[in-house]
């Protein structure tokens, strides 16, 4: 497979995963903004998903509709969902002969959907949840289409590598966003609602209830998001899947390239596995999340260098 094609497929998957993650966190945040009486702030989220100047972010921080507009539909915000979808589609366009026609059409429809008048009106003056739901559903359609139509070849491997790498980054980020909102103060019991919303965003709330039977403890939440190997959004699970698809590349790879990546992925897996996190040690938690994020980004950089030919 052409290096450029692998690169594009990888990024297409990353943008789609990021889109899904953003849509979900926007949905739960929006609902919680309607639910809570005390003043709800979008600032932490904005800091992560907006490249607008701080003053501008500050100005819209308490206006949910404006925030949604900015994060979903604002073309001037480089990190907005519409820009993610556009980029995913641009990447797909450049590799149309390596993804199936169905996947391309699905992405193309997604692009037309988010540009549609309906979505715009729902977000501006209707019910934003309806808009978010239809976007989330279309994202699911994409995942299903990939699963059902794509051949299990190289393109599929890079697609999954991109997907799980991005998902791991997202889970680390979202955990960080929630903990930052709580100022990393995990001792007091008020944080329960915030963590519940975190689990909603990661579609992990039901699993949590089943596992812990309503016993809501911050430590358990952290454990699920970081270590639970049955939770598809946990960092551990994502790394395991990432490694699984990476191993399939071994036969064709240049031995040197393979060794480099194997080392980096293995190292990150171990950093996650052999970590013990205490809610009392907020500094340690902060550093851990920062370190994991850094290691994930080095994996991406190594793919870029050794497999996509961009040194």
């Amino acid at each position: 497979m052409l290096s450029r094609v692998a690169d594009s497929v990888f990024w297409m998957a990353r943008y789609m995963e990021r889109t899904n993650g953003m849509l979900r966190i926007l949905r739960t945040n929006y609902i919680s903004s309607q639910d809570e009486v005390k003043d709800f702030s979008w600032r932490t989220l904005l800091r992560n998903y907006s490249d607008a100047p701080a003053a501008e972010v500050e100005a819209i921080g308490n206006n949910s509709v404006k925030v949604l507009h900015h994060l979903l539909l604002d073309r001037h915000n480089g990190a907005s969902v519409i820009n993610n979808i556009t980029r995913a589609r641009e990447n797909a366009r450049a590799v149309q002969d390596h993804i199936t026609k169905e996947v391309w059409q699905c992405l193309n429809d997604y692009y037309h959907l988010i540009r549609s008048k309906e979505i715009f009106e729902q977000v501006s003056s209707g019910d934003p949840v309806t808009a978010l739901d239809s976007l989330i559903h279309h994202g699911m359609l994409y995942h299903g289409t990939v699963d059902i139509t794509m051949a299990r070849g190289e393109a599929f491997n890079y697609l999954n590598i991109g997907k799980f790498l991005e998902r791991a980054v997202l889970s680390a980020d979202m955990l960080n966003i929630k903990l930052t909102e709580l100022d990393y103060d995990l001792q007091s019991p008020v944080e329960v609602t915030a963590l519940r919303y975190l689990l909603y965003s990661l579609s992990g709330y039901e699993l949590y209830l089943k596992t812990h039977r309503g016993n809501f403890q911050t430590e358990f939440v952290l454990d699920q998001v970081i270590h639970n190997e049955h939770f598809p959004h946990s960092i551990s699970y994502c790394l395991k899947q990432l490694f699984r698809y990476f191993e399939r590349l071994e036969t064709g790879s240049l031995p040197e390239s393979y060794k480099q990546l194997e080392f980096l992925i293995g190292k990150t897996m171990n950093s996650v596995k052999y970590s013990s996190l205490k809610t009392s040690d907020s500094e340690g938690l902060k550093n851990f999340l920062r370190q994991i994020r850094q290691e994930l980004l080095s994996i991406a950089a190594a793919f870029n260098q050794y497999y996509f030919g961009n040194s």
Partner: protein
């Protein structure tokens, strides 16, 4: 026909050949199709029209308009009423195109080697050497099987008496063939059963024929040569076509930056190292293909690819330098080429063409400007063109000045009244002007022309310009099976 609301308001302009109606009624080729649609209500027709638009949009069948920021992709307007050709008409066209291509191909071989045609005084040397698309670097290059024009799209138009004329030979990188394929696939969605009932010839063999031809050009005796399609990238107006063809042939779609040349061999960069490329179907123009030989500022090409081509390590399709044969001034000599190289009379007519470098012609054309079409010899896509009947005094004066400055760059032709075909526009069936571009594939085993082609439509009432960049659209084109055989 009586009582059919669809056909009642169909008024053919005077002195225009209509594809569907003759003076005596509906032409035989259209009878079945008209019978099937004439009882449909306006609502049903409009529904079909909308379905077609939706299918194009969701499949991303779009072309890109240069220089217009966001929303740069547009769907190529599609008219749902097919254009229909009878078997006998098609045979005539097919024979004419084959003859023409044979002659043009020998001409290219000749002009880039011995130049007998110049020595024998058939074509003036000045005309060839002043042509900006004559590529000196191609002189003396050995081209596999002596084939230059592997893929061509010949533009045909019809005068008021129904005679076919060749308007242009597109021998460089003709586009539009994917629309021929997609239009057909839309037709069977919006008119179920209509195609088999009418015995319409299939066009779906095109990608297979093309791939077969491309594979046969590989220089090494390899059972499985690597064939790639070289595209300028996703911002090219025909990018959709490039991906469609690559997908239908199952070959790699590459950009210039994916290829490298080492020791006169071309390789593509893959995740598992370099892989040699044997045949390149390029959709990048001559000027941009190799910055070391042609335009040095080109970012689309591959440095060194010309050298690899010259040494025979890679085959490039179409050959470089074909522009000298489809130059609009050289065009007027094609009938002479057919007589000279093949000793045959041309089957398809040329539109009479006046070289404006000739002072006598220039005078005559200036006097009759309202009846003339003036074209720049090296432009296409409907740019650099003046249609006398629709031009203002000011535009005509501007053209006169430009022509006096550089007469070699202009030709003039009498205005040919393009034939009209029925189009479904705003809920009414209306005549609009059309042309026809069949696609010919020239391989070591001969010339194949898939029965069909692209019918382009000038969607504006009365307009004669069919180019997609100038408000043109397209139609599905049916060639009916010969039922006597």
């Amino acid at each position: 026909m009586e009582g059919s609301s669809l056909l009642n308001d169909y008024n053919i302009p005077p002195r225009v050949w209509d594809e569907m109606f003759s003076g005596k009624g509906i032409r035989p080729a259209y009878r079945n199709m008209v019978a099937a649609i004439q009882d449909l209500s306006a609502a049903e027709m409009t529904h079909k029209d909308e379905l077609a638009k939706k299918l194009f949009m969701s499949q991303g069948i779009t072309f890109t308009v240069y220089s217009s920021g966001e929303g740069i992709e547009k769907i190529f307007p599609f008219d749902i009423i097919p254009r229909i050709l009878e078997a006998a008409e098609w045979k005539h066209i097919e024979a004419g195109i084959k003859q023409r291509l044979k002659a043009l191909n020998i001409f290219l071989k000749d002009i880039y080697s011995h130049q007998f045609i110049i020595r024998d005084g058939i074509i003036p040397a000045k005309l060839i050497y002043s042509c900006p698309n004559f590529v000196r670097q191609m002189v003396g290059v050995d081209v596999p099987y002596d084939i230059y024009t592997h893929i061509s799209g010949i533009d045909l138009i019809r005068d008021h008496d129904g005679t076919y004329y060749v308007l242009e030979d597109n021998l460089r990188t003709p586009s539009g063939v994917s629309y021929m394929l997609e239009n057909r696939s839309i037709t069977y969605r919006i008119f179920p059963d209509l195609l088999p009932k009418n015995n319409v010839c299939s066009v779906k063999d095109y990608p297979d024929l093309l791939l077969k031809n491309l594979m046969s050009l590989a220089s090494r005796q390899k059972s499985d040569p690597t064939v790639v399609l070289l595209t300028p990238g996703i911002y090219n107006s025909a990018y959709f076509e490039h991906t469609t063809l690559a997908r239908l042939m199952g070959i790699e779609l590459v950009e210039g930056s994916d290829l490298v040349v080492d020791n006169h061999k071309v390789y593509m960069k893959t995740t598992t190292g370099l892989k040699q490329v044997d045949v390149i179907y390029r959709r990048v123009d001559d000027d941009f293909i190799d910055p070391l030989v042609f335009r040095p500022d080109s970012m689309l090409g591959v440095p060194g690819i010309y050298g690899a081509y010259r040494t025979g390590h890679v085959a490039i399709v179409n050959a470089m330098g074909n522009g000298v044969a489809d130059d609009k001034a050289v065009y007027s000599y094609v009938p002479a080429m057919i007589r000279y190289y093949l000793n045959e009379e041309p089957i398809l007519k040329n539109v009479p063409t006046y070289q404006l470098a000739d002072p006598g012609h220039r005078k005559m054309v200036f006097e009759n400007m309202p009846d003339m079409v003036i074209k720049k010899t090296n432009e296409s896509g409907g740019y650099g063109m003046l249609i006398g009947s629709a031009a203002t005094e000011k535009q005509m004066d501007e053209f006169k000045i430009a022509i006096e400055d550089d007469p070699r760059s202009f030709i003039a032709q009498p205005i040919i009244n393009l034939s009209s075909a029925p189009c479904y526009i705003n809920g009414v069936l209306q005549p609009r002007r059309v042309d026809l571009r069949p696609y010919a594939l020239y391989g070591p085993d001969g010339i194949d022309i898939v029965p069909g082609g692209l019918t382009r439509v000038a969607l504006k009432e009365g307009s004669l310009v069919v180019n997609s960049s100038q408000g043109g659209g397209s139609k599905d084109t049916w060639v009916l099976e010969d039922t006597d055989e």
